[in-house]
């Protein structure tokens, strides 16, 4: 048995609970009981996550702790090895926190087959836990793949009218992408296998440490191609700009629980995978592709923000907004500024985006429960009849727009300051002209940061457009002739029930807490992130030491032109 049992327990527990749902227990067929059972079991998983957090030694969060492995096919080097550092712990806790919230929120929406709905939710939770604790690529790939199956069935069976097409689009898009990533993984493992004289030659190694070492020995072109494969596979999940078209379609069709999980957790697999596997493994590739990825991210930020503004469907608006937000995270992730503030910011921003967008989707879900519509033209001024709902909706809206004091700002500020101080490989950007007396690798990150900064303004525009249209303004709501037929309150606008408030309070509190006192989070994430970006940062330091380091003492005798006459 692996040395420490708590981590595999975190993954196997939800699977066991899902298994119980499969057993022919008559009681579970009844909607309420299945829902209660599932709420209880997700709480248990949250308990286990907290147990792990307690057991985790927060003094050196960068170091991988509670390691262990579960041999599957030793001949092929296939082992399920797992371990957590601070990034994985943070994401595990986020998953464990969002799951009970999502389960409790799904009471009104799922009219029948609640048992199957909760089954798929638990399978999804197990797969997510697995992928966040994975220490070897095949295990990560396996869990990454398995998250597709529950999402497919959640959307295909419990979604809205065009759900089947959305489920298929999502599955095939992500499946093809991850297949290409699998090809990349094979290539790196093979390169390790066939290399002569290295400690890993002659063996198939899939665990992260050896793959990192193998990746670094590969040539620049090899690394770039493999990184391309990884970016395609994980970019679809991020969603990076050109690969994002599936997200709005899926979000409009997915049930609330599906949307929240998709936006809150599954989208995090992309940047997490890039940071954990791609960046440390393929430094030369990263140096080559970083400016291009930055460009894609910036286009994503601005285009998605503008598109979000013109949407009439609330969920589509929030979907495009999460594309724009994740653009920030990717830009910062590939900025590689000194002290890797950007990457830490990207991780914090991912967590806060999970909470804020999750909250937004839950609020919109509650709206859909009441009015059966998400069309902005048919709803307005709901704050009059649903003040508490409007309050929470406002908090999540302003958290996602990055108002200081809420979680969005911490992530966004760090991302932007990281991107501004970003460093690119001069060779990769040699083609661009010098501008304002600065070499391209100096001004390009700054231009990216400024453009992404304009995304902050656009974010204010579309969020206030959403908030102003739905919550404020004169009261307008769709009229129902037959009222109250499926258990809905006759007035069709009753404010939050205690159940619904109980869901939103933890999320809002988390947003507020990260916003006001993010120190423990940033202190925990920073060493882990810096460790992962060390190889690339090392190469960048060697390449352009002249960039004014953040230390004041440097005489800044850099290539900048002499100041104008005072």
């Amino acid at each position: 048995m692996p040395t420490n049992w708590i981590l595999p327990l975190q993954m196997l527990l939800p699977m066991a609970f899902a298994g119980i749902l499969l057993l022919p227990i008559k009681a579970l067929n009844e909607r309420k009981i299945a829902w209660l059972y599932s709420a209880f079991t997700s709480m248990v998983s949250l308990g286990v996550a907290i147990l792990i957090a307690i057991r985790f030694d927060w003094s050196n969060p960068g170091h991988v702790q509670i390691p262990g492995e579960f041999a599957w096919l030793p001949e092929l080097g296939l082992r399920f090895s797992f371990g957590v550092d601070s990034i994985s712990i943070a994401l595990l806790i986020l998953t464990a926190l969002l799951m009970p919230v999502v389960v409790v929120a799904s009471l009104l929406e799922v009219k029948h087959d609640m048992r199957k709905f909760q089954f798929w939710l638990h399978v999804l939770e197990a797969a997510l836990m697995g992928s966040f604790m994975a220490r070897d690529l095949v295990f990560f790939y396996t869990c990454f793949e398995i998250t597709l199956i529950p999402l497919f069935f959640l959307i295909a069976q419990f979604g809205h009218h065009d759900r089947l097409r959305a489920a298929k689009v999502m599955f095939f898009y992500a499946f093809t992408g991850s297949m290409v990533m699998l090809a990349g993984i094979f290539y790196v493992a093979w390169w390790g296998y066939q290399s002569q004289g290295a400690p890993w030659s002659g063996q198939w190694h899939w665990d992260i440490e050896s793959l990192w070492a193998i990746g670094n020995t590969m040539s620049r072109t090899q690394q770039t191609c493999i990184l391309g494969a990884f970016v395609l596979g994980l970019g679809i999940k991020t969603p990076l700009f050109p690969f994002h078209t599936w997200l709005p379609l899926v979000h409009t069709e997915a049930p609330t629980a599906g949307s929240v999980d998709l936006a809150g957790l599954v989208l995090k697999l992309g940047p997490y995978g890039l940071l954990r596997f791609a960046i440390p493994m393929l430094p030369l590739g990263v140096l080559v592709l970083a400016p291009w990825l930055g460009a894609l991210a910036v286009i994503g930020v601005i285009a998605a923000a503008l598109i979000a503004w013109v949407q009439t469907d609330a969920k589509k608006l929030v979907a495009y907004s999460s594309i724009s937000h994740m653009g920030f995270a990717v830009l910062a992730l590939f900025a590689f500024d000194k002290g890797s503030i950007g990457a830490t910011g990207a991780m914090v921003y991912m967590l806060s985006h999970g909470l804020a967008t999750g909250g937004l989707f839950i609020c919109l879900g509650m709206l859909y429960d009441r009015f059966q519509t998400r069309d902005l033209d048919r709803l307005s001024g709901l704050a009059k009849i649903m003040p508490l709902w409007a309050f929470f909706f406002g908090i999540f809206a302003f958290a996602s727009v990055g108002l200081p004091g809420l979680s969005g700002f911490v992530g966004e500020f760090l991302c932007l300051i990281g991107s501004f101080g970003g460093r690119y490989d001069p060779a990769a950007v040699a083609g661009l002209p010098t501008f304002l007396g600065m070499a391209p690798e100096l001004w390009l990150p700054k231009v990216y940061a400024v453009l992404a900064g304009s995304g902050v303004v656009l974010a204010a525009i579309y969020v206030l457009h959403l908030l102003g249209r739905v919550a404020f303004g004169p009261l307008k709501r769709p009229f129902f002739e037959s009222t109250g037929e499926h258990g809905m309150d006759k007035t069709h606008g009753h404010d939050l029930s205690s159940r619904e408030t109980a869901i939103l309070v933890p999320l809002a509190l988390a947003c507020l807490l990260i916003g006001i006192y993010p120190k423990p989070l940033t202190a925990a994430l920073e060493p882990a992130v810096r460790g992962l970006c060390a190889t690339v940062n090392g190469k960048l330091d060697a390449l352009n030491p002249a960039i004014p380091a953040s230390t004041v003492s440097s005489s800044a005798a850099s290539s900048t032109a002499p100041a104008e006459a005072p």
Partner: protein, 552 residues
């Protein structure tokens, strides 16, 4: 034909085949007996004899392989015979009710009186057992003539099985098509054998191999091998000669389709290994591995693999009948299997046959071999593919729509979950395994294939792996559609269940085996396959083979 080994030694090595033939005779007798109860026993007799032959094959494997069979792959025939036996017994359970059903169909539809004899249950099982015996002979063939006869022995009974599996025109149509096109393909590969004989002057595979090793590959030899490869390609439904597959699979009764998809394919790959063994895979000078196939043949195989993958997967997207989809899946899967051939076997550490029963030998730790072993991957993937296909088709075989026809249209299958949840889960599991979903058996197979292809240092390795990966992504379309239709479709309450208990048991065991292949069974299967495909070089003297403890 060299009879250097004593004749009885040879006969003893053919014991599994004899048990099958014996079983066939028994089935014939039981089938003709007047009392109905004895007739019902025939199915059990068939399955029993198949299992018995597997046990015999397994127990025989510790004997030093002196009999006929590829000198350099002593373990392969045993492994293939065992999987033929196992998969054959599952198929037999699936086929159990086909003949009986015919009688019911006759009564139910009072179709025009068809055949003189009142009942021919026994013959059907006899044909199946004989065809399996033919497949086993292929695995152990040591001579071109022997191989020719074995291949014919696999095909001829299958033509008859298709013809009399169902009493409607479609079965006869697919039988006649399979027969004629099979005959043409047979002519092609026999012509190939002729040219091979012409180029070397021997018909014994070992002699040909020695001759080629000594004199190199002449052009005539290349032409001969190419023709044989393409001819045998017909049996495994590979690219150039694949067009018959869809019609034949649709026409035949579903369990027979399962049979066609598995047994001829195993026999075909066994034959291919033997034929390719004559021109390539000689132990390389430095004892580190085996030489590659001649470039012409290698690239021909590569093109065949890529073409089958693309044609199989793309055709599968547009099919309306699930059995035709399984035909396309069979074409595509043989594309993946050909990748195993391209990678070729691995040179086994020169420690010769390990004493102890087959089972101990299976668990012997042969990690060094695992990684570079194309044939090992081929064996594993054959098993997993066989299990998946049998599971899926047997489960489909249990379903009949209202007016008695096979329920194989997409809409007729919809909503199976509501009426028969177990069958729905079996179909879902098997199709997801064939797709290569990580937890199930198919994924293990695909990992090994990709590893072997990459490890084989070929220039096209990356392209082949990309083809494998992208094609399994495309294949996800029809596999997932099957899963989705079965699990999520709205109930159209047309489906009802054939009272065929054994078919359901066959499907269930196959599905469980597929699930197990992903989990704990993967290890032993993998080790057994690698031992089977490890090329033991008898004439290699020990000093040249410097093998450190953990492989090269």
């Amino acid at each position: 034909m060299n009879f250097s080994a004593p004749f009885f030694e040879l006969l003893r090595s053919l014991l599994p085949e004899f048990t099958l033939l014996g079983g066939a005779l028994l089935c014939l007798l039981a089938g003709l007996s007047p009392t109905a109860s004895v007739r019902r026993v025939t199915a059990l007799v068939a399955v029993g004899s198949a299992l018995l032959s597997t046990l015999v094959a397994a127990s025989m494997s510790h004997l030093p392989q002196s009999g006929p069979g590829p000198v350099d792959l002593p373990e392969l025939p045993t492994f293939l015979k065992i999987i033929i036996g196992l998969l054959g017994s599952l198929l037999l359970m699936g086929v159990a009710k086909v003949p009986d059903r015919l009688r019911q169909v006759l009564d139910a539809e009072n179709a025009k009186p068809f055949v003189a004899g009142d009942d021919y249950r026994g013959e059907f099982f006899a044909f199946t057992l004989v065809s399996m015996a033919g497949a086993m002979l292929c695995a152990g063939a040591g001579d071109l003539v022997w191989l020719l006869l074995a291949l014919e022995l696999v095909s001829l009974p299958s033509y008859v099985m298709i013809a009399c599996s169902r009493d409607d025109g479609r079965a006869q149509e697919s039988a006649i098509k399979y027969f004629f096109l099979g005959a043409m393909a047979a002519a092609i590969f026999i012509y190939g054998f002729a040219l091979m004989y012409g180029a070397t002057g021997h018909t014994g595979i070992a002699d040909i191999r020695a001759h080629v090793q000594a004199h190199g590959v002449s052009n005539l030899m290349l032409a001969g091998v190419a023709l044989s490869v393409v001819g045998i390609g017909f049996k495994i439904a590979a690219a150039p000669l694949h067009s018959y597959v869809l019609d034949v699979y649709e026409g035949a009764a579903t369990p027979v389709t399962a049979f066609l998809a598995v047994i001829p394919k195993i026999a075909g790959f066994a034959a291919l290994i033997l034929v390719l063994g004559t021109v390539g895979w000689f132990p390389s000078k430095d004892g580190r591995g085996v030489t590659a196939l001649p470039p012409a043949i290698w690239s021909l195989l590569a093109v065949m693999a890529m073409a089958s993958m693309v044609i199989g997967n793309t055709l599968g997207l547009v099919q309306k009948n699930v059995k035709r989809v399984m035909g396309c899946s069979s074409i595509a899967q043989s594309g993946y299997l050909l990748l195993g051939l391209l990678a070729g076997p691995a040179l086994m550490a020169g420690d010769g046959a390990v004493e102890g029963s087959a089972w101990e030998r299976m668990t012997v730790h042969a990690s060094a071999l695992a990684s570079t072993n194309g044939l090992g991957a081929l064996c594993v993937y054959l098993t997993v593919y066989g299990l998946g296909t049998i599971g899926l088709l047997s489960a489909l075989g249990c379903l009949v729509d209202k007016h008695g026809h096979d329920a194989t249209g997409w809409d007729s299958l919809a909503g199976l979950r509501h009426r028969h949840p177990l069958l729905a889960i079996i179909i879902a599991l098997c199709s997801l395994s064939l797709m290569g979903l990580p937890v199930l058996g198919g994924f293990v197979g695909k990992i090994m294939l990709a590893d072997a292809t990459l490890a084989a240092h070929s220039s096209l390795a990356v392209v082949l792996v990309l083809f494998l990966v992208l094609n399994s992504a495309v294949s996800a379309a029809y596999y997932l559609r099957l899963t989705h239709v079965v699990l999520l479709g709205s109930d159209n309450n047309q489906l009802d269940l054939l009272p065929v208990q054994s078919r359901r048991v066959a499907a269930l065991t196959a599905a469980i085996a597929v699930l197990a292949m992903g989990g704990f069974l993967a290890g032993p299967l993998l080790r057994a396959a690698n031992r089977a495909a490890g090329m033991k070089t008898v004439e290699m003297d020990m000093q040249t083979v410097i093998t450190s403890a953990d492989g090269r």
